[in-house]
């Protein structure tokens, strides 16, 4: 049965959010409490002080399991970085560089671009591409990521991740919503739906983008058939950080306050007259909107950070950069935003992988490592799950002439590496193993559904229980799959 026992409760409370609860499956009580809090309805559990809210702990009794993580910072590398040159060291591949790939790598396989039997492509035998053993754990990470090497002991690498799709948009949807098609809720939306928000003044799911928007477009952080309050809200680095946030020309804050007061006065009158609880909600939303007009710019204002912090992240205030987004991510989880997702475009290296990879790594290495260090020093890493993913990996075979400088790697769905840090995962751990050439998986495979099930588990959610009935069937993030990878949980 997908009808949760909590559903009864929700129907009793429909007074306020009648549509919202019409089909509520979810973690139920917890989500409800959060929604009421988030929308500031006059229910008993409505602490007004945002500070108090940001420090609120998840009520563990309401989760399916004791949660290990409270918040998520999810970094998605759009286009798919070459995991073979970054995280999954393959000396055998280097040795056999230039040899035609085994038939079974090519025949009967679907490859996006490669059309003729390709040759194997090893990581270049150059100093900057070498893999060093890092930290206590001795995990090998490429020298292209010198800063990440310093925090290797915080990370679990999933070297046996795999997916079903090998084209960008469907694979992104697969990774981020559990379905290759459009129109399903994204992982952030599910999390928001299951756990709600902890900050009255900010959305529960925030998205930050560098470079072009990914192929899957806004659907990558959409709410699908879930109530739209759960969709990711993009905080932009150009123009208004949130659409329509700033007042139009000729209206300043004081004036805006007066207009919101007038709107709410008239709405209040209407509420008394009609007694439609939706009006009460709308009144609260106008107040929240007004508060967001100051809380969001305050959040985006990174100048206030110390010089040391800026140096650590490599941030430059006022500019749009991945580093700035990493720092913003910390500021967001500090303020109780449940799910922060960073997208970075430019990893789709069909050509010149050895030229382009170092450049991209330079952009992200320092800020990601800084984020992990910073969360740790602030005591936030234990309750914040930091995730690195991409829609798939890249082939151990070269695309184009492997002897040429501009050789690249094609899309590869059968084995790639994702990683997680903090939030209840093991420190300095490697899970899963790809074969000696990095083509398939030989140990502990982790399907996208397993990956997502594990994330949900760390948040205290049973991925099979968090469902929503739509078109006559209960849907969940993991479709009909998903096994929690217990081995990576600390």
């Amino acid at each position: 049965m997908w009808l949760h026992k909590n559903q009864r409760t929700s129907q009793d409370l429909t007074l306020t959010r009648r549509h919202l609860f019409q089909k509520l499956g979810g973690v139920g009580g917890l989500a409800l409490a959060s929604l009421f809090r988030e929308t500031g309805l006059g229910l008993s559990a409505s602490p007004a002080d945002p500070l108090l809210l940001s420090q609120a702990k998840i009520d563990t009794a309401q989760c399916h399991f004791p949660p290990r993580a409270k918040n998520v910072i999810y970094i998605h590398m759009v286009g798919a970085p070459s995991h073979l040159d970054l995280f999954d060291y393959k000396p055998e591949l280097q040795k056999r560089n230039g040899q035609l790939c085994p038939d079974e790598f090519f025949q009967g396989k679907q490859l996006a671009f490669i059309r003729q039997q390709p040759s194997l492509l090893g990581t270049p035998s150059k100093k900057e591409f070498e893999f060093s053993r890092c930290g206590q754990s001795g995990i090998r990470i490429s020298n292209l990521l010198p800063h990440l090497q310093q925090v290797a002991d915080e990370i679990t690498f999933n070297r046996g991740t795999y997916t079903d799709q090998f084209n960008h948009a469907p694979a992104q949807m697969m990774m981020l919503s559990g379905f290759q098609r459009f129109g399903r809720p994204s992982i952030g939306a599910w999390t928001s739906y299951g756990l709600g928000s902890e900050n009255k003044n900010l959305p529960s799911f925030v998205v930050l983008v560098t470079g072009q928007v990914l192929g899957a477009g806004n659907s990558a952080w959409g709410s699908g058939f879930l109530p739209t309050v759960h969709q990711g809200v993009e905080f932009r680095s150009k123009g208004d950080p949130v659409l329509f946030l700033s007042n139009p020309k000729g209206i300043e804050a004081e004036s805006r306050k007066r207009t919101v007061d007038a709107i709410n006065k008239l709405n209040q009158r209407q509420l008394l007259n009609l007694q439609d609880p939706e009006i009460a909600t709308r009144i609260d939303q106008y107040e929240l909107a007004y508060r967001m007009q100051s809380s969001v710019p305050e959040l985006m204002e990174i100048e206030s950070e110390t010089k040391q912090t800026h140096e650590m992240y490599g941030t430059s205030p006022g500019k749009s950069s991945f580093a700035n987004n990493c720092l913003l991510a910390r500021r967001l989880v500090e303020r109780g935003v449940r799910f922060v997702q960073l997208f970075d475009q430019g990893w789709d290296m069909h050509n010149s992988v050895t030229d382009r990879l170092p450049t991209k790594c330079k952009q992200v290495d320092r800020p990601i490592a800084a984020l992990i260090k910073d969360l740790k020093q602030r005591g936030l890493l234990d309750e914040t799950l930091v995730i690195w993913s991409s829609e798939f990996g890249r082939t151990p075979m070269g695309q184009g002439d492997v002897k040429a400088k501009n050789v690249g790697r094609d899309h590869h769905r059968e084995a790639f590496t994702t990683w997680m840090a903090g939030g209840g995962v093991k420190k300095g751990f490697v899970y899963g193993k790809s074969d000696e050439l990095g083509y398939g998986i030989v140990e502990d495979p982790m399907h996208v559904h397993d990956f997502n099930a594990t994330i949900m588990h760390l948040l205290g959610i049973d991925h099979e229980q968090l469902t929503f009935k739509y078109q006559g069937r209960p849907y969940r993030l993991t479709d009909i799959g998903g096994v929690v990878a217990d081995k990576i949980i600390a």
């Binding site: 429909t14 928007v213 477009g217 739209t228 207009t259 939706e278 007004y290 739509y470």
Partner: protein, 1034 residues
Amino acid sequence: MLNLSKLFSIVGLACIVLQVNSIGDEIDFDKQIKPILDSRCAECHGSASREGGLRFTSRDDAMVELDSGKFAIVAGDPLVGSLVSRISSRDPGEMMPPDGKRLTRSEIELIVKWIGEGAKWSKSSESKHWSYVAPVRPVVPAIEDSAQLRNEVDYFVAKKLASQGLKLSGDAPIAQMLRRVSLALTGLPPEVEVVKAFLRNPSEEKFEQFVDDCFDSPAYGERWATPWFDAARYADSNGYQADQIRESWAYRDWVIRSINQDQPFDQFTIEQLAGDLLPNATEDQRIATGFHRTVTCNVEAGVHPEENRVNQVFDRVNTTGTVFLGTTLECCQCHNHKYDPFSQEEYFRLFSFFNNTPVEVKLTSGVSYDFYGPKMDLSVDEKTKLKRDSLIDELAKLKQEKERIGLAAREKLDDLKSKLASEVQNQITWTPLQILNFSTASGEAHRVLDDQSVLVGGLLPGTSRYTVDVSNELSLVTAVRIEALTHEELPGTGPGRGDVERPNFILSEFVVSAGSSLTAEVDEFEVIPLDESFADYSQKNWEVRKAIDGDQKTGWAIGQQFFKDHWAAFRFKAPLKLTNSNGRMRFLLDQNYGRGRTIGRFRLLATADDVSTLGVSDEIRNILKLEKLNAGQQKKLDEFLSKGQPELLKLQSRISVVEKKLEALKPPTTLVMQEMDKPRETFKLTRGDYLSPGKKVKAGVPAVLHSWNKELPDNRLGLAKWMVDPKNPLLARVAVNRWWASYFGRGLMASGEDFGTQSEPASHPMLLDWLAVELMESGWSRKHIHKLIVMSSTFRQTSQSNGDLNSRDPENVLLSRGPRFRMPAEMIRDNALAISGLLSTKMGGPPVMPFQPDNIWRTVGRNGPKWNAAKDEDRFRRGVYVIWRRAAPYPSFVNFDAPDRAACVIERPRSNTPLQALTLLNDQAFVEMAVALASTVVSRFEGAGELRTQLAYAMQRCVARVPESDEVDVLQQLYEVELSRLTQDRAAVDGLLRNNKAVSGNSIAELTLSERNHLAALSVVCNVLLNLDETINY
């Protein structure tokens, strides 16, 4: 390998089968079999679960092919189906039930006998879910106190209310009622004057007249098309990564037209599913098939066109199921439906109907795919048509002419192709020419190097002419070549002399003359005509041909590509034959640019080879390799071939002009469905995977629904006609329910997209059936049903609630009060545009781009036009005409729950968020509307009129009713504070009014200062009014 337990079980089985004949009378299913199935099997194979594709809910379900491809029961043959062997097996991996108590021997015997007798099911056990039985018109219930009731709808509703001890609330106040009706029917508010006139003398007849006027308004179709477009997932782009814009707005206009004309819903259905297959299909009927061309299409590099096609057909089947049958078929893509009586095989039988349209993705070049599928030209008006026809004639004539004089060019083309083919084998051999004498006009020093290149040094004059005499051993010369070479002694290594950092040279003129022998006198030499020039590289504006154009001011240069060797070759117009070998040639190298831009080291060479292909650029070479050329490539080739044929060039430019004119008059197109000549075979796809075809299936419809009339054609048209058969239990119910949901905010069936066994029961099942039958018997008239609804007392109730109703009927399921809910996104825009007086009533045509913030319309994809916010009336068109790009839908619509239209949506969520508040408060589009509303108010009173009257009028435009005095107090207070602020802040006034153009026909700039301040303060008040909950609810 057969293990021991299996062997035993088979031996045992045979014994049972031999014995069963001895059991007496025919099996009674209800008494003997059903209890076994219910108690032992139903947990995994019952109505709630369908493990392995098997369940025992009906005979059909039990006999259907399993997910494994086997059958559990084959009637009459207990040993063939897997059921008997599974229940008698002792193998833990095989036996059923897998745990718990095993079936007794006598139970197994009963089942064996029952299957042997044909596995008969009793009728009573086969009762179908209500929605799969065709509706029969229910009797309208009798109600004692019927004074308040107006039509049949009310009787059903009142009956249900009475059963809960409730009754209908009274009518809403007239102004609110007119507003509700007007918005519900047209998506636009009533005119203040119309409401006023009505209030002076209200009557039921006048109300009906008002309703009829709404039905007659073209705005009706615009309003009702929107929910249909959500269901039909209509958008203006392809979706996915590329998300190109594509033309199919004619379908959008067709839907609006069809709804306005009250096209019967059955016909509306047939034309969208299969208009193309109707005999003598009209243009409109073909346009209607755009319904199923709205599916998304992936043209990402690396896409597999067949996979994309199969996904599109899946979408067509699923959308057809949801929109017309209220049924979720998607589950059956991979396995038998877990809950509803649809099998995977039946899914693919439906799939077969849609499996005959062409692939819509095509590899166009390299790894680049394009959207590609049947589309049709729309007809154009007579004048345009005549103009087009005459242009088409003219073009044909010009092309004929070109053909005629182009014969030579074609021969040239064939010749070229064969030469290019042989060129690969025959590399051109260049022979260095021996230097006999070198002199310069300006006295530079020089040295002849071993390779016969000349290195120039010493004095650096501004300009120079090199005269080079050479001897030539070839008896035939077809072309000569000059190499400009680097040398370490040259500044920056050269090849020019003038500058260390920019060692360029300019070869102004290059002249060759020749004599037939070594002894010939120079003045006997003849200048050799050169007809083509080539170079490895030319600086922009200094192309190599300028070295032989006779103009000393122009020339060949190599700027930006310094420090490298370069070459230029010049072809002789006619090959030079030298009767004696060792003929002499003289080269003049004029370098007139100045500042020492002369060549530092050069070498001269000649060839006797065929150089006719020498000037063929890489671009032309690549074009020649293509099978089919696009317009641009054809033009390039034509230009190349017509070199030296000026009349051809002229003709070509005339052709281009005509083609351009034609392009401008090109009729718009729209996407349509089109059957292929030869239908595809359809296979059941294992686990829905297009690479794993299983059993072949024939087109057909699900058995649980009404039967297929044998007369119907075996194609989409047959399916469409089957769909609208009055025996269809779902179509009419699903349609009226969707309409009801739009009027009341909730359907009679809460899940409009699912009428299956897992759906919540209908709140008013009798009313649903009554309306469904009424729809069919009224000739499928949409307007008839809509009118029944809006004329009913149920719809006209006041939406005032109270604590009692809120607790007894919190979601208004019982309809104890009038509907009240937030408008859909487009209506919020349309309503505000109408209130403000800005609304454009222009209908149809290509989609429009109103104002939206920057950085939204990202060109994630290809072919994305720029977002240029319209400055004319298109800025104020209704929401239904706003361009719908799936990757970047209009942001204010998104904030109010509009879907991205990537997939069919029956019911939009209705959220209530701070982003909505921000949109209405701050979106420039709504701010412009607020200022426009203020202008409209000012115009109405021509500057006069008491302030409170103006404020009340502004509010009345928003909510239709006359505001109460305390409401006007709130507005007045705000106005006064704002006026004093704005009076002191000129910049704020200018800022607020900046985008608005006119008041009473006068431009804002012409207003007096106090008029401007008044307008600005009033605008702030109007901003409030457009944000009221009452303004965005109806």
